[in-house]
């Protein structure tokens, strides 16, 4: 390409304390192209984007815009040159309307802005009601609002941080069509993701990040997902083939027309949920988070009591109004989606976190804690589940998401439960750890445990589960045989196109 790159980074570095988040990163993005930044969690993608968008300033290295060296002291500097960013966790204000949200960033009268929002929506397939309150919008619609808000500033470069992580498959299709139209309009797009198939489908060039450094610049279309993954994690992908499940045994969990009114305005009412789970099988609940997942997990774990005892049966006992401890005594274990706060107490050491659910493993004697047993248990968990930590005294809150998840899962597995509920097992966990976690769950299944997995990750559910349900607006679909269904069909359930 003869003209200078729209954006060029030369040996950009950033360090936080002892962590080198970015090391001498080189990157070029041209107008009219979609460039992928690929990397695992913790590889330095987010830091890099913050540097480009002016949220943080690099320690060393240069940023060039249209061939000129630039310094961004704050996001508005980057915005004024024409850089727009769509955040992974949306930066919308829920109590305001779409137009009000847009007007916080884009100058203009509300009526004019509303018209522009509608026009842009028609042009790029981003339709959304300008006067709707944001808290009433679906996740896909919110993302459209974010993109529209960026586009109204006429950016030359649009950065999207993990834009598909929250979308059902149909919305991903739609987003990609929008991005291709923008590309055809001459816009440069920087697309950050760890999902290999998406990058191969959408992008012409990709920079692969690992441990804060660029480990490769490739044309993703010429590589298969496996070799891209290898670049990303720096070693061979572990084998993901698993033994077929044996026929399931006796029933361990049963939900009988479980209904529960929502606890808050922003919650979800659960309606008439039926589910059966037997030993030696993994059943998955797919669906976009916020459709009742948290409510359902709280009801099964006992954090919320059901309205009638018979609505929930564990090991054949009516447990609907028993507390979490009583349910655990029956052989139930639970890995919640919030690791900090529900799965573990951030300020406490790993050893004390073990005590929270494993106290029945002779950790108590006449009301006193037996520290040696507590430590031994924790040590065993750390070794057996490859938790990377200085030791049992490390604070839970100081660990990375993947490591903490391995610890929490390990702690629950070491209780040898007969029934497990695992919610979002690999959220924010890197590929290596995620693969290990899935293998552990399958091992548990083969040993006869009954496992219910709630997850947003379709691939994960198809890899592990023999039966799938979809949770949409508080209603659970009938069980679908994983071998007979497709991600597309599940996707239709996820957006409520079929019930």
């Amino acid at each position: 390409m003869s003209q200078p790159a729209l954006l060029r980074l030369a040996k950009v570095s950033k360090r936080y304390g002892s962590v080198q988040a970015n090391h001498e990163i080189d990157l070029e993005v041209h107008s009219g192209s979609i460039h992928a930044v690929l990397g695992e969690n913790g590889a330095g993608k987010s830091t890099l984007m913050k540097l480009i968008y002016g949220v943080e300033q690099p320690d060393a290295g240069k940023i060039h815009w249209n061939g000129q060296e630039v310094h961004f002291a704050r996001p508005s500097d980057a915005q004024s040159l024409g850089i727009g960013m769509v955040f992974q966790h949306f930066s919308l204000f829920e109590t305001l309307s779409v137009v009000q949200n847009v007007s916080l960033m884009v100058p203009g009268k509300p009526a004019e802005l509303a018209q522009k929002i509608t026009d842009l929506g028609d042009q790029f397939g981003l339709s959304v009601d300008p006067h709707a309150m944001v808290h009433r919008l679906s996740v896909g619609e919110r993302q459209r609002v974010e993109i529209i808000r960026c586009l109204l500033l006429n950016p030359k470069l649009l950065i999207l941080d993990e834009p598909t992580s929250v979308l059902p498959p149909q919305s991903v299709r739609r987003l990609f069509e929008t991005l291709r139209k923008l590309q055809a309009d001459g816009m440069a797009i920087l697309f950050i993701s760890h999902k290999l198939d998406e990058i191969r489908e959408l992008c012409e060039t990709a920079s692969v990040l690992r441990g804060g450094e660029v480990t490769g610049r490739v044309d993703p279309r010429e590589h298969d997902a496996r070799s891209l993954a290898q670049l990303m994690i720096g070693r061979e992908m572990p084998n993901v083939a698993h033994a077929a499940p044996r026929p399931p045994g006796e029933e361990r969990l049963r939900l009988n027309a479980l209904s529960h009114p929502r606890a808050s305005r922003f919650g979800t009412t659960l309606e008439d949920i039926d589910l059966k789970l037997r030993s030696g099988e993994i059943v998955g609940i797919a669906g976009i988070s916020g459709n009742g997942q948290q409510e359902l997990a709280a009801l099964i774990s006992g954090e919320t009591r059901a309205q009638e005892p018979g609505m929930i049966e564990i090991m054949g006992k009516k447990v609907g109004q028993l507390g979490p401890m009583a349910r655990r005594k029956l052989g139930f274990a639970f890995v919640p989606e919030e690791r900090l706060g529900r799965g573990a107490v951030p300020e406490m050491s790993l050893a004390d976190n073990s005590l929270l659910t494993a106290h029945s493993r002779s950790m108590l004697s006449r009301g006193f804690i037996r520290r040696s047993v507590e430590r031994a248990f924790t040590r065993e968990c750390i070794d057996a589940f490859d938790v990377r930590t200085p030791g049992p005294d490390a604070e839970a809150g100081a660990m990375s998401g993947g490591n903490l998840q391995k610890f929490i899962l390990g702690r629950e597995i070491m209780l040898s439960p007969d029934l497990m509920l695992v919610s979002q097992p690999t959220w924010g966990v890197d590929i290596g750890a995620a693969t290990a976690i899935r293998r552990r769950l399958l091992d548990m299944r083969d040993q006869g445990c009954a496992i219910l997995v709630i997850s947003e990750e379709m691939d994960e559910l198809f890899e592990m589960c023999s039966k799938l349900h979809v949770l949409h607006k508080g209603q659970l679909s009938a069980a679908l045989d994983a071998a007979d269904t497709t991600p597309q069909e599940i996707g239709r359930y996820m957006i409520g196109a079929v019930t």
Binding site: R74, Q79, E94, T95, Q100, L104, R265
Partner: protein
Amino acid sequence: MSGLEFLLAGTLAAALPLLLAALGEMVVEKTGLLNLGLEGMMAIGAAIAFICVYHTGSHLLGFVAAALISTLVALLFAVLVIGVKANEVAAGLAIGVLGLGLSALFGKSYESLTIKGLPKIDIPGLSDIPLLGQTVFTQDIVVWLSIVGTVALWWVLNRTKLGLIIAAVGENADAARSIGYPVVLIRLSAVSFGGAMCGLAGAYASTVYTPLWADGMIAGRGWIALALVVFGTWQTGRVAFGALLFGILSLGELTAQAMGVGLPSQVLSSLPYLVTILMLVVISRRRSDLI
């Protein structure tokens, strides 16, 4: 003057310190902070204003000085909370205590001294209305300005971009920062505004409403104002309504005498405080139903 006339004439003035302090705190809370030091900021403002008016005779100077000193105290709170990330509750209580202490210190040698209040201003036309004219529509200049200011504040918060920005910062500071708003500056300004309003509230109490210095003269009005913000669900109109309601209550004994209620005066003087507690209980119950 009959009891009813007394009520009509006195309510606005009695409500004014509560109104100003509560509106200031409302703006602070809208940006996502909580400053519990209202009582102290009002007290130091009251002391400084009284001293200023006593020596210069200028009420304007008194109000300006009070606003400045209370802003300074509020900025100390901002430095603690925004600057060094101290606990909000502890920092608010600390500057509250500091304000009370300073007010007692500065006011020591002025105990029981008096100054002249402000003249009442008639509104031409309205003042000729029977009963209301010489009561409700005869107020000092500060009351009239505060009514205009309250409407202006409503307009800014609900009809302008600045109001939108304040709401945005309060709802999600991280998001506001990421789209490029100077969150720290906005919060700093809000805290300063809250401080200045408390200063004005204190100044009105000590130089106009009761133009006499006595230690502890704010008498819990800062806490009532704090409760009023919650009572008013962070809406200008409702906060103003709440302030009026408490204005009537704080006329306590006199009100009751006017109505012919024969309760001991101690019970009557504690009425505003009892109602504050009651109100907070009712509101928190209602709020937990909503959530």
